[in-house]
């Protein structure tokens, strides 16, 4: 099953560049070619940002597989990104709720 992902950025900022770099590393490592990534610059396409209710940038949206999730930030914390993608469960909290 392919991951459908959308990344919202604002302009060619340093944060934007870092976010793309961090995200690509994570995706290549964990999903190799099992994903489609659509990059949207909110300056060029504010309507798309409106449609998806984006406030903060960078924002990654996982459209598929469900559930729909958003990860905001420059993706420097790869654990959180992997949790957002549903590739790992998130540490203790997750387990304690199960027991």
């Amino acid at each position: 099953m392919k991951y459908l992902l959308k990344l919202f950025l604002t302009g060619q900022s340093e944060t934007s560049r870092r976010a793309v770099e961090n995200l690509k590393t994570i995706l290549e490592t964990h999903l190799s070619d099992q994903y489609e990534l659509d990059i949207v610059d909110t300056l060029d396409d504010p309507e798309s940002a409106t449609a998806d209710g984006i406030i903060a940038t960078p924002t990654l949206i996982k459209d598929l597989p469900p559930p729909l999730r958003k990860v905001i930030g420059d993706f420097s914390d790869s654990e959180k990104v992997l949790f957002g993608l549903g590739l790992v469960a998130l540490d203790e909290d997750q387990e304690t709720t199960d027991t």
């Binding site: 504010p46 209710g53 984006i54 903060a56 729909l68 999730r69 990860v71 420059d74």
Partner: protein, 508 residues
């Protein structure tokens, strides 16, 4: 020329929100952001939307509403009752929402640094699309709740406000506070975000709600100080009541008009002044309604339009009373020279009563207005609210350059003062007192002119009687002292002279 300071003059944008432009001396600072702070339920959102609505209505200038809290459909639903056609304006491209409300059911995970670039881009886009000159953001507190990193939120809010400035729009940001009096906002940054701060209050006082608005800070420009009451009208939204901000620029006229009772005109030195406010005070049954009736009959006899606001008696009672004194209110109404508005004080709060009185005066355009009684309205208000009402009413009447005739019922039968008098006596031009006087086992009535601004007047206390033709003023009470104090005592002349002598004796 080089050492001339650069003087950036702050221009104001008329909001067209009723009364607000008056207390803010011209509106909101143009091209700037104003913080609107208030507790839950203080009408911040209504103000924020109305600001946009009035802009569209006044000159078709576009408006953008950025919501961090309620969803656009909810906002439209909640404000539908005001008759604001937001959906239509959206279609016409005059109104746009930027929906930044939390998305239900979408989990958001934070991984590292972020900014509000998308939000700013969306706001800029919406402003350009609608050619907006006005933007409202509602509310700061909600965005702090949505994004947990206060430091980032603060930094990004400054950027957002900066972007609004660059766009040249006039904007409002709402912020929630937890107390009516205390810190401006919850996050300690609110007042630094904007140059201007307005506070909305909804205070519970004596079990009555009172809404007020205060402009706390307008950087670099002037505004009226203090709290101003406002109300929310079902078909209009917020209406600020400017009260004493109404300039007393009225010309004092020397034209005398008849009180409707010739003896009383004589006592006043020739009648009331055209643009004066007269207060009549007395216990129940002393003849205040009778004097209002004479005052009206005196006007209609000269074909002057008269308006009577009654808060104590029904129309039927008033008409019957008038008939009993030989005055036909019904005929006057049919002739179009009289309008009687009878209302029960409890039907509305005081702010709404004031607005209604002002509206009726402006519609009917009378030469004379009588309010019988003003003190009945004390019941529905706090002391402070009542004082503001009295000031608002009297200044409005003077502003219209008409004659105002107000009655006030004293709480004790034999005299004394009421709260009304304390608040109003310095504002009114003339004060007439009506009192019961016990004379040889019989109740008589007395009238005196306590004050008549700008004119000589009779200082005696005159006895008067009431019959089928109304009021008849008779002789001066002699041998009685203490009438005004509500404690009449008979004295023989010698005693009174001795008493007077005593007042000026040196060895006290």
């Amino acid at each position: 020329m080089a050492n001339q300071p650069i003087k950036s003059k702050i221009v104001k944008l008329e909001t067209k929100i009723d009364g607000f432009d008056h207390i803010s001396i011209g509106g909101l600072p143009k091209g700037r952001t104003t913080l609107l702070s208030g507790t839950a339920g203080s009408a911040k959102t209504v103000f924020a939307i109305q600001f946009l609505v009035e802009g569209i209505r006044a000159n078709g200038s576009g408006g953008v509403f950025v919501t961090f809290e309620e969803s656009p459909p909810d906002i439209k639903l909640n404000t539908e009752g005001f008759g604001w056609e937001i959906s239509e304006w959206e279609i016409e491209g005059k109104f746009a929402f930027v929906d930044a409300s939390p998305q239900i059911g979408v989990e958001t995970i934070v991984s590292g640094e972020y900014d509000f670039g998308a939000l700013i881009a969306r706001v800029e886009h919406a402003v350009k699309k609608t050619q907006a000159t006005r933007v409202s953001l509602d509310s700061l507190s909600a965005i702090f709740n949505q994004f947990k990193d206060d430091q980032i939120v603060r930094r990004e809010l400054f950027r957002l406000v900066g972007a609004l400035k660059t766009l040249g729009v006039t904007s409002i940001i709402t912020a929630e506070r937890t107390q009516e009096y205390g810190a401006i906002g919850r996050y300690g940054v609110e007042e630094f975000v904007a140059d201007n701060v307005i506070i909305l209050r909804n205070v519970l006082e004596d079990e009555k709600r009172r809404r007020t608005m205060e402009i706390l800070k307008y950087r670099g420009t002037s505004h009226q100080k203090g709290e101003w009451p406002f109300t929310i009208m079902p078909d209009k939204g917020i209406v600020v009541i400017p009260l004493s901000a109404i300039e007393l620029g009225q010309k004092s006229s020397n034209i005398r008009i008849s009180s409707g009772v010739s003896e009383l005109d004589e006592m006043c030195g020739g009648g009331f002044f055209r643009d004066s406010v007269i207060l009549v005070s007395g216990a129940t049954g002393t003849g205040k309604t009778l004097m209002s009736t004479h005052f009206i009959a005196g006007g209609t006899a000269k074909m002057e339009r008269c308006l009577l606001f009654a808060f104590e008696e029904s129309r039927e009672q008033l008409f019957r009373n008038a008939n009993g004194w030989g005055v036909d209110f019904e005929k006057m109404e049919n002739d179009g020279v009289l309008k009687v508005e009878a209302r029960y004080p409890e039907t509305a709060n005081l702010e709404d009563h004031l607005l209604n009185i002002q509206r009726v005066i402006d519609e009917f355009k009378p030469m004379r207005v009588a309010v019988d009684s003003l003190s009945a309205l004390e019941r529905v208000s706090t002391i402070k609210g009542f004082r503001e009402f009295v000031i608002g009413l009297t200044s409005f009447i003077k502003h219209r350059e008409i004659t105002g005739f107000l009655t006030s019922t004293t709480t004790s039968l034999m005299g004394g003062t009421s709260i009304t008098e304390g608040h109003i006596s310095t504002i009114t031009d003339s004060i007439i007192l009506l009192r019961y006087v016990e004379m040889y086992g019989e109740m008589q009535r007395g009238v005196t002119i306590l004050k008549m601004r700008g004119s000589m007047h009779d200082k005696s206390i005159r006895q008067f009687s009431i019959d089928g033709k109304g009021m008849h003023v008779g002789k001066t009470f002699r041998n009685v002292v203490g009438i005004l104090a509500g404690n009449p005592q008979h004295v023989d002349n010698n005693e009174e002279i001795q008493r007077m002598d005593g007042l000026f004796s040196d060895d006290k």
